[in-house]
Amino acid sequence: MIENAPCGYISLLPDGRIGHVNRTFLGWSGHATGQMVGKRLSDFLTIAGRIYYETHIAPLLRKQAAFEEVAIDAVKADGQPLPLIANVAERRDRDGKPLSIRLALIKATDRRRYEQELLGARELAKAAEKAAEEKLQREQEASELREQFIAVLGHDLRNPLASISAGARLLDRTVQSEKERQIIAMMQTTVTRMAGLIDNVLDLARGRLRGGIGLDRDANQLLEPALGGVVDELRLASPGRVIETEFQLDRPVNCDPARLAQMLSNLVGNALMHGNSSKPVIVHANTREGRFELWVSNSGQPIPAVAMGRLFEPFFRGNAHASRQGLGLGLYISSQIAKAHGGRLTVSSTSEETRFTFEMPLA
């Protein structure tokens, strides 16, 4: 029965030499009985199998009489490996001395191949994960370096700009002609615009580096002077344009007034740039029902539908007025300021009106 059983069967004598091999195993391995009997089992294992047998299986058998499911690789007569799974049992006499060792063997070619594939897949997955981590790391480092560069650059640009501004102010005291005065006014307008761009760039870099825009909040802030000041400045810088204000601010707002001024400046600047120049820009602010609301509207071409979803992304620029475009940071920074205040900035745009609305809780 054992001779043709659907498993290999080998028994070893107490000295470890092969006493019997069944026909099934001989068939698998291609060895003849005469070649195997009297030899050591190790002689028919791969090098790895031999060392494993000597260092693990043989000691284990002495320690406990039997165990199951051990993997060993035998060698066929043609030199090819024969992967096996073995159950092994040691028969002992009363004194615990081994009488024989019996091995039941199952072919494990497919199983071993499957395991190899799993292991290969695991190695590949590990390598891919490592590569992705390294790439992410590199990109984070590069991105941080870029933002540090922007921060330094922005900071360094401020000083020469301040010198130009101071120089223009000095000239303004001494010039005679109206033409020269106009030129100096234009220079100051440009300096203001450029300072605004630099502020935006610095905010972007700081926000990215430190995880958001920092606020200097004041719980009792009355906003009208701050907001009115922004509008006055922009009126001066844009002669010939009408900016109407409707302020209904009877309650204090817990906010950073300089940041809200910066937001308003960005929004009105956009409205002036993109709106119909013959129509007024309207600035409205109110404190009602526990909320502060600020909106800026202009008339003119509506914002194209494709652009609406991306308006608040950094470096997004519409396609109008190429020569007058900024960096595409104004709305991004404004939305970050809104977020830092626990509020939000939204947009609606129709053929009648384009309106940006900021809303936040009062306290």
């Binding site: 000295d15 470890g16 050591r40 190790s42 791969t46 090098i47 790895a48 199998g49 031999r50 060392i51 494993y52 000597e54 260092t55 693990h56 043989a58 000691p59 284990l60 002495r62 320690k63 406990q64 009489a65 039997a66 165990f67 199951e68 499911e69 051990v70 993997a71 690789d73 049992a89 040691e90 002992r92 395991e115 190899q116 799993l118 292991l119």
Partner: protein
């Protein structure tokens, strides 16, 4: 940081004046000495331990760099010896631990007075004028096998308690030792073991040594045992009738009586 006793799962027994330290080889733990060490407990203070990464050692103590050479393991032996204040002790090393003992003896003169080397090999790979028993390709095949078979390593040794209804602790003990060995560590230990070359260390051994050589050992053959006993300045070799690589388990009585002629 655990203490050295916890790190290496050190067990001290016996009452003798002199200490006898037993070190296990690759693939096993201190249980390897279970049939041999008790025979010396009356005459010696026996010290058993597990190398870091094996048996009941603290796996957190495993340091890839430290254990990338046998020197790291020898340092541990010396630390255990210092902790126990060993002088003139007997070191009994099986397989790769024979060489670990040779290195430790050189590092701490006076700690060990005699070395018993069971199945020693200073180099497993053949070299010019030297036969270690394996070609570089065969050792690479082994390491590949271990590399590509580590899934098997962690599961294939799962023991089933059988045939020992009267001694269930055997199975328990096994679950707690072999099976707990981290396959990654086992792989690294195999690499260190089978790629080391300690031939020049043998010539510097300043204390007497006894080589116990098995009759039919495919891991450390007779030729290698001859080389070891020839190269160590003060060395004797006893060839055992026992076959295989683990006479401490398969023929403990023969090992014990051979050791008694020396210690």
């Amino acid at each position: 940081m655990p203490g050295i006793a916890e790190r290496n799962n050190v067990h001290v027994r016996g009452t003798g004046e002199t200490a006898m330290m037993f070190a296990h080889g690759f693939g096993c733990d201190q249980n390897m000495w279970r049939f041999v060490a008790p025979a010396f407990e009356e005459q010696f203070r026996t010290v058993l331990f597990d190398h870091v990464g094996a048996g009941g050692s603290d796996p957190r103590a495993y340091d890839k760099n430290k254990y990338s050479s046998l020197a790291g393991y020898a340092d541990d032996v010396v630390e255990i010896g210092r902790e126990l204040d060993l002088t003139d002790a007997v070191f009994v090393g099986h397989s790769v631990s024979s060489m670990i003992g040779v290195l430790a003896a050189e590092r701490a003169p006076g700690m060990f007075g005699k070395l018993v080397l069971v199945g020693p090999s200073p180099r497993y790979i053949d070299d010019e004028g030297y036969r270690g028993g394996f070609t570089p390709e065969q050792i690479e095949e082994l390491l590949q096998f271990l590399d590509s078979n580590h899934m098997g390593w962690s599961t294939q040794m799962a023991p089933v308690i059988m045939g020992n209804p009267d001694r269930p602790e055997l199975g328990q003990e096994l679950t707690n030792s072999f099976c707990r060995t981290d396959p990654e560590i086992a792989k690294a230990f195999a690499r260190v073991t089978f790629t080391s070359d300690n031939r020049s260390d043998l010539t510097r051994l300043a204390v007497p040594a006894l080589v116990l050589q098995c009759s039919d050992d495919i891991i450390a053959g007779k030729e290698v045992g001859d080389f070891v006993s020839r190269t160590i300045p003060d060395c004797r070799m006893i060839v055992l009738n026992a076959t295989g690589h683990c006479p401490n388990l398969s023929a403990p009585e023969e090992v014990i009586s051979a050791m008694r002629t020396f210690v």
